[in-house]
C-alpha cells in the first residue's frame, strides 16, 4: 500500500463533506476533513430548511450545520480549518499543500468544495456588493427594515429567501427571466399568498444603479424589449451556483462546460482515488439531501478503492 499521512482527505465541510466524514470516521479510516471557513457550507446561509428528512418541524440552516458537524465529530472525525494552496491528485499518493506551509498526503481524496452564489454579471453588481447587492438574505435582510427590495431568481432559494425578506422589507419584488417559477409548488404558494411579495416574470435585470449611499434602483427589460426602472434599496441575487473549483487541478479532472466535476454514479472522478460529492458535481439538482447522500456514496466508493490498494 502506498505510504501517506492519511487514508482519506475530504476537502470541504458542507453536507457532502460532513456526511463523507461521518461515514469515514465510523469506518475507522484515518481521515481529515479540510475546511476554509466554518463547517456547514452554504447551508449556514439558509434561513430555514423545510425539506431535510427527519426534521419534521423544519430546522434553521445554522442549526442543521451544527448538528451535522456534531454528528461527524461524535465518531471522532478530525477536522482542520485551513486554506489549500495547491493539489496534486495524480498517482497513488495525493498531495495537498496548505497555506501554512504544511503538506498532507492521502491515498484517496473526496472533493466537496461546493458552490458559491451565481453572479448576474450586470453593471453595478460588483460596484454595489455590500451596498445594496446581496447574496445572503439571512445575513443582510435585517438592514432593510421598512424598505423596498428586489429578489432576482425563480428557484427554491430565491423564493424561500423572498419569504424571509418579507419579515423586514415593506415590499419584495421577485424578478425572474422566465414565465414560470422553478421553486417547489408549496414554496410558490406561500409567496403568492403574501401581500408584500410581487412578481415580475419574463423580465431580466439589465443594470443595478445607485450612488454614494448604495443601490437606488434596477433597470429592467421585459420579453418585449421594453425597459423600466424599479426603485429599490436592496437587490438579493439567487440565480444558482458557480463551482468552487479555483484550486482544483482542472487539467487533470474531467469537468462539464460550467466547471463542475464529472463523476459516475459511484462518485468516481476521472482520476483514480479521487471522488467528488455535493454541489461541485456536475448534476441537475442541488439539494442538501442530495449532497449528503452523495457524500455517503463517495466515502463508500473510497473505502472500496482503499481496500483494493491494500
Amino acid at each position: 500500500m502506498p505510504k501517506a499521512d492519511y487514508q482519506l482527505v475530504i476537502i470541504g465541510g458542507g453536507p457532502a463533506g460532513l456526511t463523507a466524514g461521518l461515514y469515514a470516521a465510523r469506518a475507522r479510516l484515518k481521515t481529515v476533513l479540510l475546511e476554509r471557513g466554518a463547517l456547514g457550507g452554504q447551508v449556514l446561509t439558509c434561513d430555514w430548511v423545510d425539506n431535510y428528512p427527519g426534521f419534521a418541524e423544519g430546522v434553521s440552516g445554522f442549526d442543521l450545520s451544527d448538528k451535522m458537524a456534531a454528528h461527524a465529530s461524535r465518531f471522532g472525525l478530525e477536522t482542520k480549518i485551513c486554506e489549500i494552496t495547491s493539489l496534486d491528485l495524480r498517482g497513488d499518493v495525493k498531495t495537498i499543500h496548505l497555506d501554512d506551509g504544511e503538506r498532507l498526503t492521502a491515498q484517496a481524496v473526496i472533493i466537496c468544495t461546493g458552490g458559491s452564489p451565481g453572479k448576474l454579471g450586470v453593471p453595478g453588481e460588483l460596484e454595489f456588493a455590500g451596498k445594496g447587492v446581496s447574496y445572503c438574505a439571512t445575513c443582510d435582510g435585517p438592514f432593510y427594515q421598512g424598505q423596498e427590495v428586489a429578489v432576482v431568481g425563480g428557484g427554491n432559494t430565491a423564493i424561500q429567501e423572498a419569504l424571509h425578506l418579507n419579515k423586514f422589507a415593506s415590499k419584495v419584488t421577485v424578478i425572474h427571466r422566465r414565465q414560470e417559477l422553478r421553486a417547489t409548488k408549496i414554496v410558490q404558494e406561500k409567496a403568492m399568498a403574501s401581500p408584500l411579495i410581487d412578481f415580475l416574470l419574463d423580465t431580466r435585470v439589465q443594470a443595478i444603479t445607485g450612488g454614494a449611499n448604495g443601490v437606488t434602483g434596477i433597470l429592467l427589460e421585459d420579453k418585449s424589449g421594453s425597459r423600466s426602472t424599479l426603485a429599490v434599496t436592496g437587490v438579493f441575487i439567487f440565480i444558482g451556483v458557480t463551482p468552487n473549483n479555483q484550486l482544483l487541478p482542472l487539467t487533470d479532472l474531467e469537468t462539464d462546460e460550467y466547471g463542475f466535476i464529472v463523476t459516475d454514479t459511484e462518485m468516481k472522478t476521472s482520476l483514480p482515488g479521487v471522488f467528488a460529492a455535493g454541489d461541485i458535481r456536475s448534476k441537475s439538482f442541488r439539494q442538501i439531501v442530495n449532497a449528503a447522500g452523495e457524500g455517503a456514496t463517495a466515502e463508500l466508493s473510497a473505502e472500496h478503492y482503499l481496500a483494493r490498494l491494500a
Binding site: 466554518a38 446561509t45 445554522f62 456588493a129 455590500g130 446581496s134 445572503c136 443582510d140 448604495g214
Partner: protein, 109 residues
Amino acid sequence: MASDKVQHISDGEFESKILKGALPCLVDFWAPWCGPCKAIAPVIDELAAEFEGKVQIVKMNVDDNPATPGKYGIRAIPTLILFKGGEVVDQITGAVGKSQLTALLNKAT
C-alpha cells in the same frame, strides 16, 4: 458564533477604542443570526493572535450597536473595516478566506 478570543466593543466605546486607539484596528461587524459571520469567526480568532501587538482586532454586534454600522453605511455582514489613525483604510464584505483577510490587515502595517 460569539468568540471569546476577540474583544467585543460597543457603540459607546467605538471612538475611544477604535478611532483614538493606539494601534490600527480591524472591526468585524457581525450578528448572531449570520451564518457567514460564523464561518469566518475561527479565522478571525487566528488572525487576532497572529497580529497581536500590530493590529487590534475586535468585533461589534450590529444588533446591539446600530449607530456605528449606520455611520459607516453597513448594509451587509460580515463587513470588516480596517481603521488607522481614525480613518478607514479599506474594507471587505462577505466571508472571505484567511489569505484575503491577511492581505487586508497587512495594509495597516
